[in-house]
Symmetry: C2
Subunit: 325 residues, 2 copies
């Protein structure tokens, strides 16, 4: 029943606990060859497995990190998480993933929970609404890395993409293709990424001398969005091009267009911020702004790893470029 403890091994091998401990920690520099063998045999015979919990308590290191994802429904999140997990597996860490569901309260509870569990560090896709909590951790020197969204006014490690620039270029490409009626759909502007994307849109429009028409900008929850789209496409001069602010918006848009009988690439052109899996399988002329998820995850994990291992570094923001395909 997995009750074999170090003491048992010690007794079985006829040595003391400390000796066994030394053995386990590979400090057998000054250890008799025969004691080593005795211990090995005893471990084998008893089927002993060290207890990491006990070790962690003593060492104050759990080899676990927490990942708090703002919303797991975004495909990007899972991609980045997976990259982080891969990095962890290569560095003897285990990751615990939590989904904050875009709820700051939930995020807060998870942060506290994971810290109570003594995880060695946290990678957070922030809801951006727990600034004091974030700040507190950073002041303490607790290892934290923010991903995807940036937390303003906070000198912390973060890994993001150039939302504004990418969107700006995307809208420019619409314009270059002759579009004049360009709409923009996004979820509520409560996080930096969405705001930046909208700014990119506006910049490009203004620069091209096109009017920014409020009725062409949908800002609503996924639930409400279909209704808003209905309104948008009921205008006497409906848009010929649409920018979807992220993957979930995109899904909603596609469903809407399908129901409406509008053909993508024909009746309306589409650019999406975010990649979706197997996008290449649906041969429709849609452009996706792909963020380098793997690189971002890797970088975030690496930054966290270094903090955990006390590699001194100034907090930095890493901005990755996105690519339109």
């Amino acid at each position: 029943m997995e009750k074999v403890t170090m003491a048992d091994v010690a007794r079985e091998a006829g040595v003391s606990k400390s000796t066994v401990s030394q053995f386990l920690n590979k400090r057998y520099e000054y250890m008799g060859e025969k004691t080593k063998l005795k211990i090995e045999a005893a471990i084998e015979r008893l089927g002993y497995q060290p207890n990491f919990i006990a070790r962690s308590l003593k060492q104050k290191r759990t080899s676990m990190v927490g990942i708090i994802v703002a919303n797991i429904m975004h495909y990007l999140s899972t991609e980045i998480s997976r990259a982080i997990e891969d990095f962890c597996q290569d560095h003897d860490l285990h990751a615990i993933v939590c989904n904050a569901d875009d709820d700051p309260e939930k995020e807060k509870r998870y942060i506290e929970m994971l810290r109570a569990k003594q995880v060695d560090g946290l990678i957070i896709f922030p809801t951006e609404l727990n600034t004091e909590l974030y700040a507190g951790m950073i002041k303490e020197g607790y290892p934290v890395v923010f991903v995807d969204r940036k937390v303003e006014m906070l000198d912390a490690f973060s890994v993001v993409t150039d939302n504004r620039e990418s969107t700006y270029k995307a809208i420019q490409s619409f314009i270059a293709n002759g579009h004049r009626h360009i709409a923009f759909a996004v979820q509520p502007l409560i996080v930096s990424t969405r705001k930046e994307r909208l700014e990119g849109y506006k910049n490009a429009m203004v620069e091209a001398g096109l009017p920014i028409r409020p009725e062409f900008i949908i800002e609503s929850s996924i639930g409400e969005m279909k209704r808003k789209l209905e309104e948008l496409f009921s205008l006497e001069d409906p848009p010929t091009a649409l920018f979807a602010g992220n993957d979930r918006v995109f899904l909603t848009v596609v469903e809407f267009l399908k129901g409406k009988g509008l053909k993508i690439g024909q009746d309306v052109d589409l650019i999406v911020f975010d990649n979706i899996p197997f996008a290449n399988l649906m041969d429709k002329p849609i452009s996706f702004i792909m963020q380098p998820a793997t690189e971002m995850g890797m970088k975030a994990a690496e930054l966290l790893f270094d903090q955990i291992n006390k590699v001194e570094k100034e907090p930095q923001k890493f901005i990755f470029p996105s690519e339109m395909v």
Copy 2:
């Protein structure tokens, strides 16, 4: 620096550690109202956070479970994992996901690792090649649930789908649609699911009086598969219908057909075992055999939860039906 311990709180509040402990565990039945307030205040003032590791050591319960996925590349795995995670979040458990990468050695290491970390139970998508290890855990009474693939000869909880039946029906539907040249592509037959699916294919073919032609059955790794497909479609009588044994095979097949210029639903009909995300977005006439991932994950998590909480039950296999869409 997060060094506030229970002793500090006790001192600050002018009570003993035990009292604080009682308070934390909500056993304030026989506790003075004012002590309660004093402790509350002290906790607040010090910013105390209990240390779960220490608690776990004492209670021999970590509130963590491990999920060992045979191969995270299968979309089904991630779907099921997510369902498990959801269940865990509702039951105060944390899940740690590990990817065995179809490697029995890796699987073994993870099992040992997670047990060393004292996780309360394990949900395993087995590689099926560590039978002794599985058997050992079960004999010990350690909570384990197998998912997706079954482990023969083992009396354990498991949650699977009716691979043979579903495939059988799928092939029947091909036949009903007039197909005679039906091919079957699958990864190496080293796990039960694949074997069962092939059996289903053979049964349907035999029953319909159609010959089982070895050259119509591709059994190969993903890497080799394109070459095999090339051969298959170079036959003087190439197949008019193809059954893809899982999602990864499907992706390979689609790429191949695309390169070859063959149109799905026109030159060749396709049925795929497994769902892929956003399948509804690609309006091609492909049938997917969808496994009820969420239900399977939920069930698995529930079975594990009950074992952890010593709800006595006989080991059972739950076989979920799949649906073709």
